[in-house]
Amino acid sequence: MIKKLSSYKKGQPLIKNAYMSYALFGLFLALMPLFGYLGIIKSSYVTIIASVIYYSIAALGLNVLLGWTGLISLGTAGFMGLAAYISAYITYNMHLPFEIALVTAVVVSTLLGVLVGYISLRIEGIYLAIATLAVAEILRKTFEVFDPFTGGASGKPISYPTLFFFYKYSRADLKIFETLLYLILVLFLIAVMILVHNLMKGQVGRALNALRGSEAAAQAMGINLLKYRLFAFGFASATASLAGVLYVHYNRYTNPDRWLLALSLNLVAAIIIGGVRNIYGTILGVFIVVATKDMVLAQIPYFANNPNFALMFNGILIILIILYYPYGLIRIGADLKKLVVKIKEKF
Amino acid sequence: MKTVALKISNLKVRYGAIEAIKGIDLYANEGTIVALLGANGAGKSTTLRTISGLVEASSGTIEFFGKPIHKMDVEQIARLGIAQSPEGRQVFKDLTVEENLRVGAFTVKNRKQIKANFERVYGYFPVLQERKHQVASTLSGGEQQMLAIGRALMSSPRVLLLDEPSLGLAPLIVQSIMKIVKEISEEGTTIIIVEQNAAQTLKIADYAYVLEVGNLTMQGPASELIHDPKLIQAYLGSHKQG
């Protein structure tokens, strides 16, 4: 293994074709439920990994906005929640299929996102961050008080939706639905990864980079501020709402307390500690923020019995990563490789 | 013997993997003008930054009137009386011209002195006085450059580091800057000046060093260097002038 690693040239990924690597990654994720059934991993891990997946979808879109375009949004949770409620309402109260709910929820949330994008032309930096926070707060308060639609603070438990326009849920199909929805999550994640990859590697990515680096230069080079900001906001809200829809159907529940500022901040944190403008970095970051406490720390008996220590430890971890890997933990890969090479040279 | 105001010995500086300064020795006597010349990326700005403590030396020493300063903090060094007009101007963009100058005098305790310095700087650059309530970011390029130089002068420094002071200035102003530099050096301030315009600089400098990719390749009294054929070939081209 060591030989193999170091035989690759510096800076070259292990798998050359990016698409191939995404496909393999997807396959790996897709096998999780199987591992769960076989008892190789705890069945709860599948649910936690699922949460890593839908939050990653939201985080990838947010990375386009935050990382590439340089606009901070603290409104992600609001958009996720909005889409979750819309989708829940359409499937559960209106008895329409999942696909219709998905499209409607994503479209509505994205339109709202685009509206906020308009605001971003006038409001910048920290003001924009807090303005988006205000938007999310407005939404969250509305989730709390608009009971007929949201179920209020008790939340909205729903059942599985009709899939593919015909496949209705019955209790006997529990496992199938669980797995199907999980696979849909994986599929969407890989699709979003490829989408972000394609868009950000090319002209769109460069345009957003330019907007971040120098608005003046970007405009002078013909980049339409409005168009690309709207795109970035639209894209981030679209992925956030996609994630929200997947959230609510996978968990069959949502409540207003889920869509707090803390979640938006966690997603920003995930991007920063995983790696700004880095696809795998984003997912790694989400894993650290969302899953370490439950999947890693909780397995250590000490932390399991002292959850407040786990909380503290998670916080310290975030701070340390930012201090020592300010460009994202994903760089640890390169460092490890270097270390392996070094060790190899020594012996 | 004149007092040595600044003495750099065997200085090395790295930016990550790149070694920008590869071991240089340099000194400046009190009240003299020392020019630091060299091509793009030779390490001139890095040298000045290291003197001010903005960049850490990887090895070597820097002494200010015999006192080692290379381990000191930036602001400590500033308080000793070393001022710099940095590359890229670095004015405080959201502060007014007046506030910028006032910060320049941050280390000066004496109010009278501050007032005198204000008058002096406004005397050198009347346009700054006209614009004293203007926010620095809206100044023209040259006006910002004047502000940066003026700000450095506000602290009545004992050693003044000027990084390309004439950048972006109109010919007339360049001439007057050179005069100003001469004038304050005659008052006893030691000046290290980095310039692209070698000919003009050598005219006012007492001593000059030439840096090439991190190494000192030439040095000598300015009056001699200005006639050195190697230097002429490297920096003055056929544009040699009298």
């Binding site: 605001i119 006038r122 409001i123 910048e124 920290i126 003001y127 961050a129 807090i130 303005a131 926070l133 205000a134 938007v135 707060e137 308060k141 008080v145 608005e215 003046a216 901040l265 966690n266 920003v268 944190a269 002292n306 407040n308 220590f309 909380l311 503290m312 430890f313 916080g315 310290i316 971890l317 975030i318 701070i319 930012i322 201090l323 300010p326 | 001010s52 903005l54 903090d73 930036v74 602001e75 500033a78 001022a83 710099q84 940095p86 670095q90 004015v91 405080f92 963009k93 959201d94 502060l95 506030e99 910060v103 320049g104 941050f106 280390t107 926010v135 970011s137 809206t138 100044l139 602290s155």
Partner: protein, 291 residues
């Protein structure tokens, strides 16, 4: 009229709490370029310190508060010394996330060191009401309003008129160059963090008697303070204070005269619309970018 006055006075009291928290946020922002998401958590921690000293160690209230201020000050210094100082070269966005990490740490530490139970803190002036224009307000409330205003007035003068204030503003503008000019930016940021800590515990101590001391006590104050900063403008120190009072008053009037259910949302929408037209808040001047 007395109804209005009643709401108005109570809003001022709440506004003082928001204003203190907002001022802490703004001081940190202006010196470290960090949006201080841990302002509430730090304030909460130190309010616990006050409560513990008062309840378990039987300190007189004023002594407990002083001790809490001291602990907040020291904690602020420590945060700067151990974390912020090491993060100088890190991008501003990443720096804010450090404060998120701090929230987790502080919430954990609060639970570990003070246990899980909430505490009670009485008012500094436990008894007595005053009638003003037909509205009653407690002496303590009046004190809070007065104290808040005076404290903020002092800070305002310091920041606007003194050399220390200039140092703060240059630190925010361009820290590296400020150091080059001899501005002790590290002391400036350190004191800013310490001061923010103190303002946090003051907000906590003012708020606690209205409610109780528990882990989430300042969550809502934190968000209101952030919104107040935007409303008032991040470029000035008095803007956020004005913003805080306006926010508190608007929320109460809106929920009394309009809708108890939708007041919060309506106020936030109003704030959003306002900053679309004044993108730098009430006080903030427009930042011109010249190319």
């Amino acid at each position: 009229m007395s109804t209005f006055m009643q709401l108005f006075l109570r809003s001022l009291e709440t506004g003082s709490i928001y204003a203190l928290a907002a001022l802490g946020i703004i001081i940190v922002f202006r010196t470290s370029n960090i949006t201080h998401f841990a302002q509430g958590a730090l304030g909460t921690f130190n309010t616990f310190v006050v409560a513990i000293l008062f309840t378990n160690y039987r300190f007189p209230l004023w002594a407990a508060i002083l001790a809490g201020i001291l602990s907040a000050f020291v904690m602020g210094l420590m945060v700067d010394y151990f974390i912020i100082r090491r993060a100088k070269k890190i991008a501003p966005i990443a720096k804010q996330i450090i404060t998120l990490g701090m929230v987790l740490v502080i919430v954990g530490v609060t639970a570990i060191s003070f246990g899980l139970d909430p505490f009670i803190l009485p008012k500094l002036f436990p008894k007595g009401d005053v009638m003003i224009a037909g509205a009653s307000i407690s002496i303590n409330g009046l004190f809070n309003i007065g104290f808040g205003l005076v404290l903020m007035g002092i800070l305002f003068v310091i920041l606007q008129k003194t050399k220390w204030g200039l140092a703060v503003r240059t630190t925010a503008s361009n820290e590296f160059t400020a150091r080059l000019m001899g501005v002790p930016t590290r002391n400036v940021t350190m004191i800013a963090w310490a001061l923010a800590g103190v303002l946090g515990v003051l907000a906590g101590v003012m708020y606690a008697p209205l409610n109780r001391v528990d882990a989430g006590m300042l969550d809502y104050v934190q968000i209101s303070a952030l919104v107040a900063c935007v409303l008032g403008g991040f470029q000035s120190f008095h803007g956020p204070i004005i913003g805080a009072y306006i926010l508190a008053i608007a929320k109460n009037l809106m929920s009394f005269y309009w809708s108890d259910v939708w007041a919060e949302q309506l106020v936030l929408i109003a704030v959003l619309i306002f900053i679309i037209f004044r993108p730098n808040g009430i006080i903030g001047r427009k930042i011109v970018k010249k190319v």
